[in-house]
């Protein structure tokens, strides 16, 4: 299952647009919805990504898969999975905070995001400084 670039862009674009529209409606007090409802596009998008990732990782368990060509790959997939979970944790904590379910400090909400951004920056930095351009 490999989507073309246009399909992936369209998917991202659609969910981002939906989320932004709902966010604007909520912020302008036009829609008296719960914050968890506003984040529905984010939940759907994350679920799609997680399912795609898990299906790909599960593909390794198929019979006849040659494990020699993918030790690097599996590390990368694991990092992506962790990144997705961190993002999900951040969004959930943010919703809970905005909805005032809990009286926690904003620091705890942002810890998953910081971990995610640090990881992303390490990956980007590695790509800038160590990988030879082709």
């Amino acid at each position: 299952m490999r989507m073309s670039l246009a399909q992936r862009v369209l998917l991202t674009w659609l969910f981002t647009l939906l989320f932004l529209i709902m966010l604007v409606l909520k912020l302008d007090d036009k829609a008296p919805w719960n914050w968890f409802l506003i984040f529905i596009p984010v939940w759907i998008f994350d679920t799609i990504l997680l399912v795609m990732l898990i299906v790909k990782m599960a593909g390794r368990c198929k019979s006849g898969y040659d494990p020699r060509n993918g030790s690097q790959n599996v590390k990368k997939k694991a990092w992506y999975l962790i990144a997705m979970l961190l993002k999900l944790a951040f969004c959930l904590a943010l919703c809970a905070k905005l909805q005032q379910f809990t009286e926690m400090k904003l620091v705890y909400v942002f810890i998953p995001l910081w971990a995610l951004l640090m990881g992303g920056m390490i990956e980007l930095g590695y790509n800038i400084f160590y990988v030879r351009r082709d």
């Binding site: 369209l10 980007l124 790509n127």
Partner: protein
């Protein structure tokens, strides 16, 4: 994960280093935001909280100018001008959004509604969609 870095660079038109810069700005911004909100907001003004984004925009503009000048000198005039225009459009839309948001947070005026503040982002999304069709 959804996009490889290579596709992102092609699609957004930013160099990897610039993406790195903007992620760093987001990180510093979030730290400042937490400091501002958790401390009751006495020490930091909203303009100070937004400094990382403005700095990243400035640095990115500088970087783009340099790259475009070099491309122009190397004879790739068409590419240089196209790149310059594209990046400047993106950055200026982002900058307008940040300015409006900051102004709203500082003054809390009713006239500046969030639909208006987000409008540069909506334009940005359409532009990115059009560009995605061309990248393929």
């Amino acid at each position: 994960m959804l996009f490889s870095l290579r596709e992102l660079v092609q699609w957004l038109g930013f160099a990897t280093f610039e993406i790195f810069l903007h992620v760093l700005a987001l990180l510093v911004f979030s730290v400042l935001l937490v400091l501002k909100v958790d401390s009751g907001g006495a020490e930091l003004s909203w303009w100070q909280v937004f400094i990382p984004f403005f700095a990243a925009d400035g640095l990115s503009t500088y970087f783009t100018t340099i790259v475009s000048v070099r491309l122009f000198q190397d004879g790739e005039k068409r590419l240089a001008v196209l790149r310059l225009f594209w990046i400047l459009t993106l950055l200026s839309l982002k900058f307008v959004f940040e300015m409006l948001l900051c102004q709203k947070l500082v003054e809390q005026t009713r006239e500046l509604w969030y639909g208006l503040i987000m409008s540069p982002i909506f334009i940005l999304l359409q532009l990115l969609m059009i560009r995605a069709c061309r990248v393929n």
